[in-house]
Symmetry: C2
Subunit: 490 residues, 2 copies
Amino acid sequence: MTAYEKLAAHEHETWALAQVMGRLGWDQETMMPRGAAAQRGEEMAALESVLHARRSDPKLGEWLEAAKAPDAKGEALLRHARRSYARTTKVPAALAAELARVTSVAQGVWAEARAKDDVAHFLPTLERVIALRREEASALATDGALYDALLDDYEPGTSSAEIGAMFDRMRPRLVALVDKVLGAETQPAALSGSFNAEGQMRLSRKLAEITGYDFSRGRLDLAVHPFSSGSGSDVRITTRVAEGDPFNCFYSTIHECGHACYEQGIAPEFAFSPLGEGASMGVHESQSRIYENQFGRSRAFSGYLFEQMRGEFGDLGIGDAQAFYGAVNRVNTGYIRTEADEVHYNLHIMMRFDLERALIAGDLEAGDLEAAWNTRFLKDFGVAVDKPSNGMLQDVHWSVGLFGYFPTYALGNVYAGCLMQALRGDLPDLDAQLATGEWSAATGWLREKVQVHGGLMEPRETITQACGFEPSEAPLLEYLEAKFGEIYRV
Amino acid sequence: MTAYEKLAAHEHETWALAQVMGRLGWDQETMMPRGAAAQRGEEMAALESVLHARRSDPKLGEWLEAAKAPDAKGEALLRHARRSYARTTKVPAALAAELARVTSVAQGVWAEARAKDDVAHFLPTLERVIALRREEASALATDGALYDALLDDYEPGTSSAEIGAMFDRMRPRLVALVDKVLGAETQPAALSGSFNAEGQMRLSRKLAEITGYDFSRGRLDLAVHPFSSGSGSDVRITTRVAEGDPFNCFYSTIHECGHACYEQGIAPEFAFSPLGEGASMGVHESQSRIYENQFGRSRAFSGYLFEQMRGEFGDLGIGDAQAFYGAVNRVNTGYIRTEADEVHYNLHIMMRFDLERALIAGDLEAGDLEAAWNTRFLKDFGVAVDKPSNGMLQDVHWSVGLFGYFPTYALGNVYAGCLMQALRGDLPDLDAQLATGEWSAATGWLREKVQVHGGLMEPRETITQACGFEPSEAPLLEYLEAKFGEIYRV
């Protein structure tokens, strides 16, 4: 066997074991009996230690030195393998273990703090997590750019300077749009009433099928926080049901289908290699967001959903498709990122991006985070935070060390805006199709242009090649201004 | 760290990873989407290779040389570790891999052959599996006793000579009992009718709770072939539902609860070590069979079940508890081992034991197995086999290489008979308790005497200490003769 072949065989097994790890995570959130939590922690730690040993195996270094890629796929495999090996070996094993230990406990501490609205309970843990991630970033960064070293893990090939500049261009137009929309004369009514859980799950399954999600290679279950999980031929999704909020269920399902269809759409020959999963968090989010928003919350598809919901639940208390479209896209200032409308969503991200950059740079102390958060929220959203669980304690991310992750959500929205513009150019009758619940041309376009390539190209290159132009925030902003300008007549 | 401590830490991680492997097996039979089978095979192969490397790690050999056990638990840990290391290292890695590869394919070939009643389709595969297992046994056996080397994997500390002698003592009394029972003047009527699936599952859950199964550390799902899975604080059970055969559902549930309660009952400090699972297949089966038969099919408990079923399903078409007790324990000559009554069951095992010993010894060729099976079945059961799926193709065991496994079922029955005799001595009002659906004294006795010890002692020692006497077949035979003599008035 050549060095390349040995490397590819090693990656094959590592990928398979990483799938097993993902399946344990899925089981934990959907099936695991509550009394098994401690044992599960040990099981996952044991498997993580196997994975870490494989990813930092010195033999990998030798093979990477000697390997010659036979083709473009091989080049991409080497690129992924080099990046992973460099990252894994730069971080001392003791630091990696300490990070794993601290963050696994930190999530529980955060959950308690959030439940009790007790920032002080969380602060020592947060400080420790920040210190460890700064230490890790120092080991990874070549040029002292700590935050960029972390960002690189989720979105290779971008920088905080680029993202910051883009956010600076986006902010004024989003703020102006919010002001116009919230000042509009007529505001759409919200959906109200109770919608039985069985009906929501039945319609969720139907929606998943409409998105092209392949149930023969996946399944739909319930989870407290919806997620998708797995690659290759076992990609599972979850959703949640609240009888008073069926939109949450349906749009969670569609969002997770976006992630899952991406994984299911990757060329089968990329499975069992680092190419056999999405190119980055940002590209992943572009798929979930275009499914959820540009398709799912379009005027055309909301008309179809209106009829489906009336068929399932009877009278909705909403008179016509126009009013339903307004209810689906209702803009209101809320505290919570995950419940934010399309107009507010990126403002939440920008705020977190600035705060977490300051935390990692050492310009902001954890003890000053609450004040910084609340000041900024008042400034950007015009509302005072009423309690920490609606403020700095709302997201799990920082407790588990996910610094550098938030901007990929906004990047996903930006990429979704670009893809939608390109897709509309290629599919002029898109709305007529969405209006009948027919997504196959749209999802087929995404599969061919984006999904099938998996990790073959760098993230930004994946989007550029799909769109035929360099991605920018402009298409997203134009889409938002046109859509919400029309709904709110502003 | 001392050599013993290093060894124990190694065993801790290996145990945790083995749990993960078990969970993958559970998922495959209950949750996995059908399109994920090939990928799952790769995932399990990757994890199996990790486990094999850990179990044959030369460091283990060094630690075993140097380790000094600090206490009785440590002695037992060393005993298990020595046995496992010796077995793993004696078998060449290439042979182990070939066995894994061949048996994973063989199961599919067997299933096809059974579905088509086509012995010829299965024979080349069976021959290959036998040849590989013979080769493995040759590597393991110290004295040329091939079959004993395989048996030792499932039931350490016993021999085929001992089991054969015991079966020779059991056979005439069982045959005599079958003859008397089947010649009895009145035969109990069978249960007939249709019983809705929801009701069966509802009552299954209730029965599981009655057995003491702890749902906070487990869960109940459906599977084609019921099984239990897992150790420590995540022990899951499955059952099956056929609307025409509720007894199959209820007694499958109770049987699997016996296995699962054993695992759940093991002392928590034994978890993450080889002591943290059942002592052997035979001891495991003693728990599942005593729950299923001695408790579940007792006159006392069947009266309780009669009322529960009437409550769930209404009139059963069976007039009273006496007739219901007869229906639960109806003896009839069937082809299928897994559906056999208590009287016939061990005759099925004895037949398989003799045939598989001859196959492994080389005294019987695979090509002659069908004729040998059919001749023996006619002799022992008085009925001619009508088709291979009712004959030599009925069990999955041989296709996956499980030679030496069958006798542990009968050993479990024998152990259950001994335990029941001892337990009755300690709990004189057992029947009064079972009659009200109260199992806690009985299961508490088993937990204290058997289950809590896990793998601390050798299998036979576990039973001897629990009973206060050396196990033999006598208590089981006396129990069967008394029970069925009374039901059939013979």
